[in-house]
Symmetry: D2
Subunit: 408 residues, 4 copies
């Protein structure tokens, strides 16, 4: 990281502060994020969506920088230490993500493991950097008394989602998701260490929440993405089953370890080699295996890999109500018959699940607060003239079912 | 490819015509381009530059569509067959590229092999599609009598570079490279089957040539990219040397084949399995190996791989004049001593070469022609008021030298 | 209009078709729109909002062009005559607007007079152009049997508002109003001569309606704009009162006519000179007078003019409920006392009124219809997953009150 | 100016510092710039080019703000007083412009009068603001010892042209003129109170100079703009001749004064009413008269006004060499005969002149200096690899001739 400026097509030039920030970015823990796509398999629907967690983390840090400058200019004092800590906290907030996080946490890792791992890795970095990450970790864990720092790292208006919404929108090309991140940041204000939005920014927030909801339906929960992700889960589960039955499977040593063993979070703490194996894992390991497994003698594994690689994706159905058991039964029989499957094999070729989306969480812990001109502070859902915000709180649930296109 | 519209952050919605175009895009030959980055290692300098040859080929097809519509509207008749053929020709113009083309053609493949392979693959597709690609191939090879179709596929104003300049600029974030592709296309005109630019478009062309030159210096020939590419070449050459000496090297079966054997273009024609191995190769094979080779017992291979993965890139020097032998000798000795290298090992850790850039080729075969209001047709370099275009024809050459940062 | 291409920062190059379209644009009726700002006094809040009705009309014509091409490509036949007529209808849809339409229709012209005048001027042009505008007028008046042409000129998805929303947003810089006009147009479809939106465009429409509602609150009904408009109404009413009392007032002859006489729509039909006077009127007449009237001996007129020119705008209050009579009474007394006004003078310095906004009209006549994949056609408000659209139909009303800042 | 944030479609949100900056913007001297278009008659070629000197001055101030922050961050101390003074200097740098400056300085005012007037008005403001503009005036006049402040106000890299190039490009829609203003500003550096550009910004500067040259040919010196401007000069000169012969001409009192008297710069200093008349003048006065003069009994005046209003512009010819006297004589006779003109009337209907353009001035006083990595400071024209910059210094001259389209 000799160059102190990074070119970001989303935010323009990003200045990298010298010292610990530049060193953390240069650290192998962080450089590996170059090899992990932010949106996993979304590229199958939006071919431009290839951006990485590396770029996102740096973008979020940039927004944190702008946010802190704005807040300070409006009269809230922020020390040099606090600023550095907040920048570190957002830079590392996703450091524990592995490749295809959601898919792997449904197949070879524990659920939500990336959150625990982020903290673990921050602690390890704190050790390497002579304890200089202590305040950053406090902010990350919401143990620091000035709450707005944590809110900028993790809340409904954090710089994480301000960056990813704008970035995902930029690279997918979905213009409905465009938000004015800069605009929102200029409207932030802190009173009593609480993050607020000035009243005149109320339409920008509403726009942001709407954009977020649309990105959920059009991108994050796009039925083809959901379906492809389940194909990947099925591939990894199948490979793992075969590996644990003693079959040979092409894989990098690190990926092989996860296929052969069942590793829990506790094991990472105890076994340094396990953690190292996890850190070696990225998108490349998974894809290299999938490419070789196309020729595997297990026809289910081979078929799934070939389908993904050639983009012969499953047919996917979305239902507003849970589909009837009889309907599912009928489809199950069709799939089973078409491929001559046993009952145990069926789940690899017939996927089901729930997807849901709530654009705004209005609970007291999570609400977005508006600072009115008269000094009052209110939940944005209570602000008048926003007939739509109230509705954004409704959780929309959908059911999906998917199986190979060949099945009639 | 069930969806007939592709979202492109560069050009907006791209409509995919039904029929053979949609089928070619769905073909495994074309889907593999999803796994090959357009700009190879440029992401080490511009982290957004992750776009693929897949997206570029579709973008270029979109521009071809617009160009043909414009030309037809100005009175040049274009048949349905010609249109389809031109779309196919540009869609497949790069189909023969492997991963990191330039690097592999300097290590395990022959020089410029991708050009021959593109033609070979088009012929194979012609066989699969009942001879429907004949006219496309004629256009591609410049054997069709209406020359402007080939000029739109390959010339100094082809839709290939109109797309890639705009796309590379978009994803890198280098705003100096921005061109108004649409603008230029609206200025195209055909007279006597020759591609011309209307006089009022002369500034747009000059701007385009300037942008192109800047992209060369700022992106394509950026010293860090050039240096990283030579590190990759060194890695593959080293791995190959080891493989041919009988060492075991982690690799997918396809990549292993290329490491172990010396395959020439003729072999692809004779041996179907060789061609299939090439088609199986993409960025993932290379990176998966590099990741594993970090632990290889050959210290040179391991060191190079680790450096690339952790972005500890070589220090690179650019010279306007070829550096003196005495200077090179001195540096060679330093590198040799620092790492205790034999003479045969030196080239893996000390790289040199030439980079050059000519923004405009003004030879009669390649010139850009301007259609003046009075009906005259002139080389753009002869147009008055463009003091700079003439100079764009000058070839600028530079020398580079790079070696590990650790060497004092 | 010798040049056939117009540069539009919003849509890029706009091609002007030769023949009657180019001639209509060159006609003095249309050229006068160069001198009438699209957003009147909005420039007092958004200094970039200086774009004219001329530019908007050409932009809307461009979108009509794109829309008709899209619809034709999807299989709905459109004749050359119909296409030309639709382009003319949208080009001239606002031809009857005078300067500051809303303000003048509240002071010296009848309400909604611009609509009748647009039709009258189209008929006059039809006479000059040998009856070539007949079909355009039929479409404009919704008398043509293929209803979708009129819907593209005037409906909740017409090319008029698709252009003005995008244009107003571009020039004001209010990014929340950004819509993907091109995106929506690509989703249009015609079944049984009815304009529909394909199901996959449902989020784009929702986004468009949201953007529209935000533009209302942030731009069209911005309290400062509303207040400045009422200052202008007061100026013109005051000037008129003075003129009709026999006072001398600086004005161009055309503006003077409107100050001195009460002209009704019928008079325009009977008296050619009245219509000519109207056509001579534009933003320049109004502003030239306001500038001179700063020095007028009537202190109310002079004061209002000076305030507008120096941007000492009234203080404005917005209420969700109609303010109490007692409150209004109290303010009235303050204003009266501060300026020593008579009861008849009060309305010039104390303004009140209602502003209201409904983003979506869901009545059967006006609804936006969605074409579902299974062939069903439904009102967008009935489409699931759009909790917000339903609410967009709610009419939000607000009350405002404004008076000079000097009044305590 | 109650709102402290101004929405700028070019730069986004612009923060207006409280205090003297906000007060100067609210001052009538500055508010009048709202009524003066930055690009005068360019709207006849680029209909979007309606932006005002008001918006440009605020944009330039914003860039000054960013530039000073960047320079300070790189280690050059800047006091609060210096910062405020620099902001004031750029905000007021064009305060002395009247409407259509170039045209009026060729007809009713002295040449380059706006420069003297800017200084005069700044001095008057200094009086009103208790001498708070002293340092700003020193910077403006280049009397302050830290030269880089003046260089940021007026030099080949000043924030004036960084703003206007970007703004003119935005509103005209000429994409070839796009510059990365932010990019250049981030590359600025000050050494020994001298403004420099860091070496890595060399391509951005070259791009900027190229963009500037293109804007000259495509916008500022567009032949239709030049020709329309000469029509306006002819109108004002003709009106003045008539006025001074005792004819009645419709005009605002201020404009009438300038038509009737010959006012020199010295008169503005002596006569307060003359200065006030100048300050009352803006685009509206000129256009209101032109509109009324269409009906004037002097057929030359009436004809010229009608032509401009209906956009029946002169035919214009551009020559690389000064046209031969015989040719000019022939055209003169044609025009004379066509309109039955006397020799004295000819100059109103036949215009000639020179336009010239040098994109880069490389003299020691004006050069752009590059700060090399090794600490050397060189003229950008000496930097290698920029074959084009050297040529940008060439002055290109052209001759034009224009007369009514009706003349055969």
């Amino acid at each position: 990281m000799k160059n102190k400026i990074i070119n970001d097509p989303v935010h323009g030039f990003i200045q990298i502060p010298d010292g610990i920030i530049a060193e953390l970015i240069a650290h192998p823990y962080f450089q590996r994020l170059r090899r992990i796509k932010q949106l996993g398999l979304t590229e199958f629907v939006y071919p431009g969506a290839l951006h990485t967690r590396f770029h996102h983390a740096i973008g979020a840090m940039h927004l944190m920088h702008t946010a802190l400058d704005t807040i300070a200019q409006k009269g809230t004092p922020i020390t040099k230490q606090e600023k550095e800590a907040a920048l570190i906290a957002i830079l590392l907030h996703d450091i524990g993500h592995g490749p295809f996080s959601h898919a792997l946490e449904n197949s070879i890792l524990e659920n939500s493991m990336h959150e625990k791992l982020s903290l673990l890795l921050m602690q390890k970095l704190d050790d390497s950097f002579d304890g200089k990450l202590k305040l950053a970790i406090q902010i990350f864990e919401n143990r620091y008394e000035r709450k707005f720092f944590h809110q900028l790292v993790s809340s409904q208006l954090d710089t994480d989602r301000l960056d990813y919404l704008q970035r995902d929108c930029f690279f997918t090309g979905v213009s409905e998701g465009t938000i004015g991140g800069e605009r929102i940041i200029k409207m932030l204000k802190v009173v009593d260490d609480q993050l607020l939005v000035e009243e005149k920014g109320v339409y920008s927030i509403e726009h942001f929440l709407n954009a977020r909801r649309m990105m959920y339906w059009q991108v994050y929960l796009h039925k083809t993405t959901v379906s492809t992700e389940h194909m990947l889960i099925a591939i990894v589960k199948r490979a793992r089953l075969l590996a644990q039955q003693g079959n040979t499977l092409f894989a990098t040593p690190s990926f092989a370890l996860f296929l052969e063993k069942s590793i829990r979070f506790q094991d990472f703490i105890k076994q340094e080699t396990y953690l190292q194996a996890f850190l070696d894992l990225d998108d490349y390991d998974i894809w290299a295996s999938i490419k070789v497994w196309q020729q595997h003698e297990d026809r289910i594994l081979a078929m799934l890999c070939k389908m993904v690689l050639e983009r012969k994706l499953f047919r996917t159905f979305i239902y507003k109500e849970k589909p009837q058991d009889t309907e599912i039964h009928k489809i199950t029989e069709n799939v089973k018959k078409h491929y001559q499957l046993t009952d145990k094999e069926i789940p690899f070729l017939l996927h089901q699940g729930i997807i849901s989306n709530a654009a705004y969480q209005k609970s007291p812990q999570q609400q977005i607060l508006i600072y009115k001109k008269n000094g009052d502070i209110v939940n944005i859902a209570q602000t008048s003239d926003l007939p739509t915000v109230h509705n954004l709180g409704i959780i929309v649930k959908k059911y999906f079912l998917s199986y190979p296109r060949e099945v009639s």
